[in-house]
Amino acid sequence: MSGFLAQYGGEIAELTVEHLWLTGAAMLFATAIAVPVGVWLTRRPRWAKPVIGVANVLQTIPSLAMFGFLLPLPWLGERAARVAIIALTAYALLPILRNTYAGIQGIDRSLIEVARALGLTDAQRFFKVELPLAASFILAGLRTATVTCVGIATIAAAVGAGGLGELIFRGVASVDNRLVLAGAIPAALLALVCDGALGLMERWFRIPAPGTAA
């Protein structure tokens, strides 16, 4: 066991970092796209169904197929990491988009009315009222997306993008369960850590319900 760790420890650490980087970059892109689009949809609810529908369809594409589709594309295909990040971004869109939209739509209408009646501008209403009130919801979407992507990122190794999936694929190919576990266990732990950390953040932003404890 200790011999195994001595041999593979460095590589596991390196691949974990790579795994995190793929997931992190994808989450960053997905957030940068899905949050503004989600907010925009609350202003144009008529578009909500088709746009969320598209994100939904992206979600249903099997991950291996998605990596396969993207690989032959000109600029993307040059680097496997690009393919992986774009694919993961596509998977992360739906939960973030849906939660951003639902989080803002779900705010008590009378609070929005009050914000308008007090004379807040549209931007002030968004940043001072809507965003903070929807924050825990948006973070919950981000959390779902992150945990999903940490899992899917293991498959990115199939197109040579690296990450912990590499150990898993090598383990499967060489029928070495220790290698499979060396990839799977850190990936699972990573998912748990992300889940816990984002869960804490989400709780931090959660709004206490009126009527509890006076």
């Binding site: 609070l111 009315e113 009646a117 007090l118 004379g119 807040l120 206490p208 509890t212």
Partner: protein, 255 residues
């Protein structure tokens, strides 16, 4: 005395064509409180909301201090008019101190001024600033929340205050306390108040004038004393509805 708020033949119809306000004309004297009574759906709230343009009349005109609200800058207009609604109006993610001074924050006034003003107002509505400034709405009782709501409406020193059933959700004793505070405060601050309520008692207690709406029409505009004595059928009906309990008890006594 000059007129602070004037409604000139104000009509409002919904997109489906339902007429909610049907030719309302009314002048509210500066520094007075006008209570607007009427059953649910009579158009009280809609009338109130035409003043800060939360509702735009289909026809007719609303003037504040002699100026049509349509000509005013929307944001500036709303900041210059205090607005209090029932129960749910406080932001659950804001401490009382911030919520009260939110309009000042929106105007980018310095923090120190906001804190000072906010604390002074909390004191004015009977909430000890040391104790309540840092509380979130869920840490306040219904009456305390309503006090914070009132303090917030006063933050920008508005001349006009719109109140939409501000004490409707409170128990009778808390409501009475709030009404007393309100009376004291208004006597001191001399605001023009438009108060929507369906509570006759509240209207009589706080109103200098009492306006009765029925199906979007203004059917009475009287002083409290006249309102109680009025022979007008709509007014009588409303007054009678409030005294049924007393009548019943009196009957019991006679029997």
């Amino acid at each position: 005395m000059s007129v602070a708020i004037e409604f000139r033949n104000v009509c409002f119809a919904t997109a489906e064509g339902r007429l909610l306000l049907d030719g309302i004309s009314l002048a509210v004297e500066e520094g007075t409180t006008t209570a607007v009574l009427g059953r649910s759906g009579s158009g009280k709230t809609t009338l109130l909301r035409t003043v800060n343009r939360m509702v735009e009349p289909t026809s007719g005109e609303v003037l504040v201090s002699g100026r049509s609200v349509r000509e005013a800058d929307l944001i500036a207009l709303r900041r210059s008019i205090g607005y209090v609604i029932q129960e749910t109006g406080l932001f659950p993610h804001m401490m009382a101190e911030r919520d009260v001074a939110l309009v000042l924050e929106a105007e980018s006034r310095p923090r120190e001024e906001r804190v000072r003003r906010s604390r002074a107002l909390l004191g004015a509505v009977g909430l000890e600033p040391e104790q309540f400034a840092g509380r979130y709405p869920h840490q306040l009782s219904g009456g305390q929340r309503q006090r914070v709501g009132l303090a917030r409406a006063l933050a920008a020193e508005p001349g006009v205050l719109l109140m939409d059933e501000p004490f409707g959700a409170l128990d009778p004793l808390t409501r009475a306390e709030m009404q007393d505070m309100m009376r004291g405060l208004m006597a001191r601050l001399k605001k023009t108040v438009l108060l929507v309520t369906h509570d006759l008692d509240e209207a009589l207690y706080l109103g200098d004038r009492i306006v009765l709406l029925s199906a979007g029409k203004l059917v009475a505009n009287l002083g409290p004393e006249e309102f109680l004595r009025s022979q007008q059928p709509e007014v009588e009906e409303y007054v009678r509805a409030f005294h049924r309990g007393e009548e019943r008890a009196a009957e019991e006594k006679r029997a």
